[in-house]
Symmetry: C2
Subunit: 254 residues, 2 copies
């Protein structure tokens, strides 16, 4: 659990002073939200930020560089650092970054992520059924086998679940789609672990995975897609109930 580098003990991040990692990014993000800075507004200068957070200017510059590559801020030479419009400009990685830093997505974002995931994975599974090659099938089978092992050992199924879905996404032979789906699973890692904390969910998911794999192997794209849709709906129902809200937009899912 220590090699991923993502599992951080500092969940609430209140007493964090023993490690002082590169949470500078997180601290700057917190600063922005606390100050209620809006799009277009200017952040303190690098020198000010360095002083405020008691770090060197280099560290600040690295943190800003990170925030810049996820399009949350914009550096204007000889002027300052400006906040970009959050939803319009922000990249998917901005969410991944936040999640990695321990800031969970809010309920609305989770709902939107689930909806997007359904769109991409259902369509992706259909493509996988049409295009899967021998090595894709072997990879999927390996992931299924790993799932069985994990269930037998009563370990958390979350990673196995993600790996299976990624294997399917890989079988689409669409690497751009794979990148997006991969980000989804980075975004929902923690939530997924909670979901599978209930040991009864893993066997059910595994059964559905096996059925999907069979359809994909048979080259039945639409069939596999239908199974994926049903598979995702069970998870979606759980989340919508837990979040006590409806899917984005207000009306019920089909």
């Amino acid at each position: 659990m220590a090699l991923g580098g993502t599992a951080r003990a500092t969940i609430s991040g209140r007493f964090g002073r023993e490690d002082e990692r590169s949470d500078l990014v997180a601290r700057i993000l917190t600063f922005v939200t606390e100050r209620r800075l809006a799009s277009g507004e200017r952040l303190p200068s690098e020198r000010e930020l360095a002083e405020r957070f008691a770090v060197g200017r280099n560290a600040v510059r690295e943190a800003i560089a990170v925030l810049e590559t996820v399009r949350m801020v914009e550096r204007r030479p000889n002027s300052g650092i400006y906040l970009r419009s959050v939803d319009r400009d922000g990249s998917l990685d901005a969410l991944v970054l936040r999640a990695d830093l321990g800031v969970p997505l809010d309920a609305a974002e989770v709902g939107e992520l689930i909806e997007l995931r359904r769109i991409l994975e259902v369509q992706g599974t259909e493509l996988a059924g049409q295009r899967r090659q021998a090595d894709d099938l072997a990879h999927i089978d390996a992931m299924l086998a790993a799932g069985r092992t994990t269930i037998a050992a009563s370990e958390n199924f979350a990673e196995r679940d993600a790996e299976f879905h990624l294997a399917v996404a890989e079988a689409t032979r669409n690497r751009v789609l794979l990148r997006v789906v991969n980000s989804f699973y980075m975004l929902s890692r923690t939530r997924r672990r909670h979901y599978f904390a209930d040991g009864r969910r893993a066997p059910e998911a595994q059964r559905q995975h096996e059925a999907m794999a069979a359809s994909i192997r048979a080259g039945d794209g639409p069939g596999a897609a239908a199974l994926m849709r049903a598979h995702l709906q069970s998870a979606e129902a759980y989340w919508h109930e837990l979040l006590q809200r409806r899917p984005p937009g207000g009306e019920a899912a089909s």
Copy 2:
């Protein structure tokens, strides 16, 4: 053409030595590809990279930080900088970064991007038809008006096209989807400009945009989605012909 910072004359990037911007990222990327470094392999140390590219170590650290946030490399303290598996780990922003640096997507990636775009935008347009609010419609209308103005002035329609599609994506009320679609348009900005260099394409696109907007306004999600599908197919046909290849996987699009 100079304010976006994305248009770089260094297309083939052979003789680039006159500006020396923050292309350090690009130079490191070039170095990696030239050396044929594979996943898991170690890059030279920061000090070596600094010396090799005749820059300070700070600059190298910032460039590596950028590459790390798009998940292309991994920094292991007291050990080195390692290349991550390109397709599995890489984020969509890694592609955006490359595009911004002037390295165009290869033909296969363009095809995959088009396919993904079709999936997301067709489904997204259906959602937009169901959920659009008054301000969404106003925004869409504003983009349509801007399109007419651009056409009347015989300017390049590329940005107008992107803005309309983004306005539709915004009407889905799914901000996560919006982020992904936004990345798509950042990825294809240059290609889009080339596409609309032929002045005959803009009026056709505008007509289709207007029809789509009407369906969205009427709340006809499926109808709008069908129009979007047809709209995208005309562009797709162009690209597939230009790239002289088939969509990902080998078989024809439906």
